[in-house]
Symmetry: C2
Subunit: 226 residues, 2 copies
DNA sequence: GTATAATGTGTATGTAAGACACAAAGGTTC
DNA sequence: GAACCTTTGTGTCTTACATACACATTATAC
């Protein structure tokens, strides 16, 4: 192999993470605000270079810790973006990941070496002029997340360890932006055998408390609190 | 951005194509045999470097023409492989694509600048010691192809312009390695509204000829005959 | 104890999937 | 041309799943 061939010299590999959460019935995505050139002050999806001794998933998790302080997230690769003009600096492709977390107990870093701020944005409030091609990446991630939400364990990490069926239903309704019949939703989800009733009750005032459920099996996707 | 940082210097981007076909009721994959180091004489999936002025899909199609002479194929990205040790030469990630073609009328190049041979292999006959991590890539591609075969237009390119329903069923049976009931298969496929009866009849001797069908809509995935 | 606010439950209907057997078309053979 | 061979083409019944829909229950607040 002709490593120095100018046709494919100076290529770079980035990872980019679209991290979603649901709070107050709204789907939100985590963005960070740049402090450096290019795209100074623009918002972007958390992203960064892959080191030569890492695979992309490892790099993505390291970047998330460095730029946002969030660790232990479950992510899935969804698409690799390779438009040759996507970065003005150099030839850079981006391997895209999707993640979902329960943001209730997560404190995000606001300021880091390369970022001046970080925020959860409602999808409707995301600025149009994200850095690089991150708007395109985000739009594709939203579509794919909707498709996967019914098919992969991605939703586990959105809920606390114990949750009620109405809470679960609210999450699906927020993400898919549609309403479900309560009886049908419960019937369908329960027969999937993914969750079980703990026998515990929700601690709430003002109305009948709901049963608490938990996902059957692993707790491997628990999110560490930073 | 610190372009010269040794932590992410000298990275390379490859594309790799798992091109399937079905012939004589068997699923086959196209492999090429290397002539250069490393992995001299080993078989591999067609693959190559992405140039700095191309996106990955363009590079993949160019590589296929250069290494196999096959053009005009429809492909879908499926996964990016990034194990830091996957290439012994340098840090190299591979963006993986899946394609399917009707190989009946395709003549493949046998010898090129970097390859000494190319062949369609039955899946059971693929050598275990493919170059790089191509065995792993192939195994993942097979799984994903099986899932997508029912959901994307990928199967269009496997059949000639006009085909019979039994031919279509044979293709699905070969790929999924299971038998379908003829009546149920026809009922299901016809109600998808993807194909239409042309009114023409198959030209065959020895038994009742079948109706010829065609895919509704575009011919955009026609494969050029080289 | 009465009102309020949410949870929890069963049935009936429509739609898609899966199992299953025989007639029809064309060619070949005698 | 009659009988036979090979493959295509077709309908119904059963089962599972998706959808539509209304009322009783549990707790708190007043």
């Amino acid at each position: 192999m002709d490593i120095g061939n100018p046709r494919y010299k100076n290529q770079g590999i980035h990872v980019v993470c679209t991290l979603f959460t649901v709070r107050d019935g709204e789907v939100k995505v985590l963005l960070v605000q740049r402090s450096n050139k290019p795209y100074t002050d623009k918002w972007m999806l958390p992203s960064g270079a892959v080191y030569n001794d890492e695979d992309c998933e490892t790099a993505m998790k390291r970047e998330m810790i460095e730029k946002t302080g969030i660790s232990g997230i479950y992510v899935e690769q969804f698409h690799t973006f390779s438009n040759p003009k996507r970065s003005p600096l150099m030839r850079m492709i981006a391997v895209g990941y999707i993640g979902i977390v329960n943001s209730e107990n997560i404190k995000i870093k606001k300021k880091t070496e390369k970022t001046q701020n970080s925020e959860w944005f409602n999808l409707a409030d995301v600025p149009c002029d994200l850095a690089y091609d991150h708007r395109e990446i985000l739009l594709e991630a939203i579509e794919i997340m909707k498709k996967r939400i019914m098919k992969t364990p991605i939703v586990r990490s959105l809920l606390p360890k114990y949750f009620t069926l109405p809470e679960l239903q609210n999450v699906y309704e927020a993400i898919l932006n549609k309403k479900f019949d309560r009886r049908n939703f419960r019937k369908k989800f329960l027969q999937l055998n993914l969750i079980e009733n703990t026998g515990l009750m929700q601690d709430i005032k003002g109305h009948r408390p709901a049963n608490l459920y938990k996902f059957i099996g692993t707790d491997e996707y628990d999110v560490d609190i930073f």
